[in-house]
């Protein structure tokens, strides 16, 4: 497109079009940036699920009108800069320690809404202890767990959730479960802890799944008011760059490989 220069006539028409304010009015607007999402370019790769997941959290915070009462905890990983995109008070934790940091915040400010946003390496490898113990204590916050089966930021190394046979830079022949262990289904594990209240697995690969993921996040924020324990929303996502696929292929691969291993749906629902 850019290579083709516009004719003077086209140029004029374009400018006129822009000048016409009537194109976007409050009445006919169908899609807008949600307030809690900061108006800036995200560093995420094209087709990555992080952007959608961020937006869902921002929408929920806006809909519940809890921006002034919400504190988020960003991890180390691709979403290390999550605090640059969400217009709320945030705290950037050390690698794996988000659940401990969130515990500190929630314990001294119990009336606030607190959530962590963590990837699979952060939550299920280096931070396993903090994750399990926070959930076991039933800390009243939400953990948003982004599972794409790979270390994104460091460049595609094997994650605790990398599928058997799946290639990564540190499992170039594919994950060998004999020497590298099996993928850790930490969400199922956490669901068994009495401290957790609501544990669910969602995805953002299709409109219907995006809607379900948002509903799960919204419910979890609402549950925080009840003081009933930890909520964990896993979001199974793609990583086009490190899976070495285009976004469409990566979503297809996710459906064919990730979702059969990590089935979607509620793993633990509130009893009443």
């Amino acid at each position: 497109m850019n290579e083709k220069t516009m004719t003077a006539e086209e140029d004029l028409r374009f400018e006129q079009m822009l000048a016409e304010e009537s194109v976007c009015t409050k009445e006919n607007i169908v899609f807008d940036r949600t307030d809690t999402l900061i108006d800036t370019n995200m560093h995420y790769c094209p087709g990555c699920g992080h952007g959608v997941a961020h937006r869902l959290i921002a929408e929920v915070i806006d809909e519940l009108d809890i921006q002034k009462d919400t504190i988020g905890v960003a991890p180390v990983g691709c979403s290390v800069l999550a605090y640059n995109y969400l217009n709320i008070d945030m705290n950037g934790a050390a690698h794996g320690r988000a659940a401990a940091v969130a515990t500190g915040i929630k314990r001294v400010l119990p009336e606030k809404y607190v959530f962590t946003y963590q990837g699979d390496g952060d939550l299920a490898a280096i931070g396993t202890g903090e994750t399990i113990h926070a959930c076991n204590r039933g800390e009243n916050f939400l953990i948003v767990f982004i599972n794409n089966g790979i270390y994104g930021m460091t460049g595609g190394q094997m994650a605790p959730t990398t599928l058997p046979g799946m290639k990564s830079t540190t499992s170039p022949e594919g994950r060998d479960i004999v020497t590298m262990g099996s993928p850790l289904k930490i969400t199922e594990l956490i669901a068994q802890l009495p401290g957790t209240y609501y544990v669910t697995r969602t995805a953002v690969n299709s409109p219907v799944n995006v809607r379900k993921a948002k509903a799960a996040i919204k419910k979890s924020f609402e549950y925080q008011k009840l003081n009933k324990g930890t909520c964990l929303v896993e979001i199974v996502t793609n990583c086009p760059s490190n899976w070495k696929m285009n976004p469409v292929e990566s979503n297809k691969w996710l459906e064919d490989n990730m979702l059969p291993f990590y089935p979607l749906g509620d793993i633990k629902k509130p009893s009443n």
Binding site: G92, R97, A100, V101, T103, R107, V108, K112, E130, H133
Partner: protein, 357 residues
């Protein structure tokens, strides 16, 4: 009103002082010889002031809970002993970088490894040179009595907020376990006011507060470092503290901090009984270190002996301070062994006085 003195164990006195300092939260993990801090607070604090006391799953979790809670602007602390402090170093680096106030306590034991549960001072370099990664400093107070274990809690919190910097009370197992007469401060209310930088929920009237420690641009990170360094220079200018005991007429100076400084006082008495003029130089802050004060003394004396419960860690600072002006010898015990006053006197005689007479 008559002041009420109590006989208290160092660790318990420190815990009581934390409650009275209006501390909002304590996060800790059991480790000998400091577990009494967590135990004492678990029994008393919540009932009396509503302070949060939480036994974490590890020291790593403790320090990160401190990081989270300190980020809200609340008055928070943790305590541990040597192996546990090693685990906390990464978190302390984050706290220092994020410029969060908090109080840390290291009731040192003998190391390395699992070491012993007896007192030690071998975490000196870790404490004062920045035990974690990156260029940062932790204001480090070294009490030598149970009363100072109490006093430094309140003073530590003051310094932490004054400079938005972690403050460490560097003590040891003997001071933690021994009992002395203490005068406790009045109960101060818990901290309810919010700090302007605290991450507490973004209200419409202010920009959002983000606690973070990362910059992808090295030039920005360098400026950040320079800001921290400028703050450390101010701390060095304003907060250096030391105690000079019988130094005015002394020919020889024993340099020691904490418990060992007291043992050195007894050694100095033994020396003076024999007609040898010995004084004791005790740094109270080991970061910032009283270099100038020690350097000044070097002009008047014949020699120094540094005494530590390690293989010679503060010795490096003493050498920097004295800067070659006078001979410096060293006597240290390790692994949880405590030097006795007689040992110190004999070493002083053998290593310095004998040589110079």
């Amino acid at each position: 009103m008559k002041k009420e003195f109590r006989l208290m164990k160092g660790n318990e006195a420190l815990a009581e002082a934390a409650i009275r300092a209006g501390c909002d939260a304590y996060f800790g993990y059991p480790i000998t010889p400091q577990s009494e801090v967590l135990e004492y607070l678990s029994g008393e604090a919540a009932k009396r002031t509503g302070m949060v006391v939480l036994q974490a799953e590890s020291e790593i979790a403790s320090i990160n809970m401190v990081y989270g809670a300190a980020g809200t602007g609340k008055r928070v602390m943790t305590s541990s002993s040597s192996p546990g402090m090693s685990l906390m170093q990464e978190g302390i680096s984050y706290i220092a970088c994020g410029e969060l106030p908090c109080l840390l306590v290291n009731v040192q034991r003998g190391g390395p490894g699992l070491g012993t549960i007896q007192p030690g001072q071998a975490d000196y370099l870790q404490a004062v040179k920045g035990g974690g990664h990156g260029d940062y400093k932790v204001i480090t107070l070294a009490p030598s009595t149970v009363q100072e274990m109490v006093d430094f809690v309140g003073e530590g919190f003051e310094l932490a907020y004054k400079y938005r910097n972690p403050v460490l009370i560097l003590t040891d197992g003997a001071l933690g376990q021994m009992m002395e007469k203490v005068l406790l401060p009045e109960l101060r209310p818990r901290k309810t006011e919010f700090e302007p930088w605290g991450s507490t929920g973004k209200t419409p009237d202010r920009e959002r507060n983000v606690i973070y420690t990362l910059s992808l641009q090295p030039d920005v990170m360098e400026q950040w470092n320079q800001r921290l360094q400028a703050k450390y220079r101010i701390i060095e200018e304003n907060e250096t503290r030391c105690e000079l005991i019988d130094c005015e007429d002394a020919d020889y100076i024993l340099v020691a901090y904490g418990l060992v400084a007291r043992i050195c006082q007894k050694a100095a008495h033994i020396a003076r009984d024999k007609g040898i003029k010995v004084g004791v130089f005790r740094p109270i802050t080991v970061y910032p270190y009283p270099y100038a004060e020690l350097n000044k003394i070097a002009d008047k004396v014949k020699g120094f002996m540094t005494v530590e419960m390690n293989a010679g860690q503060m010795l490096e600072d003493v050498r920097l301070a004295v800067n070659g002006k006078k001979p410096i010898e060293f006597y240290g015990r390790q692994g949880g062994m405590i030097p006795s006053p007689e040992d110190i006197f004999h070493k002083l005689e053998e290593k310095i006085i004998g040589e110079l007479v």
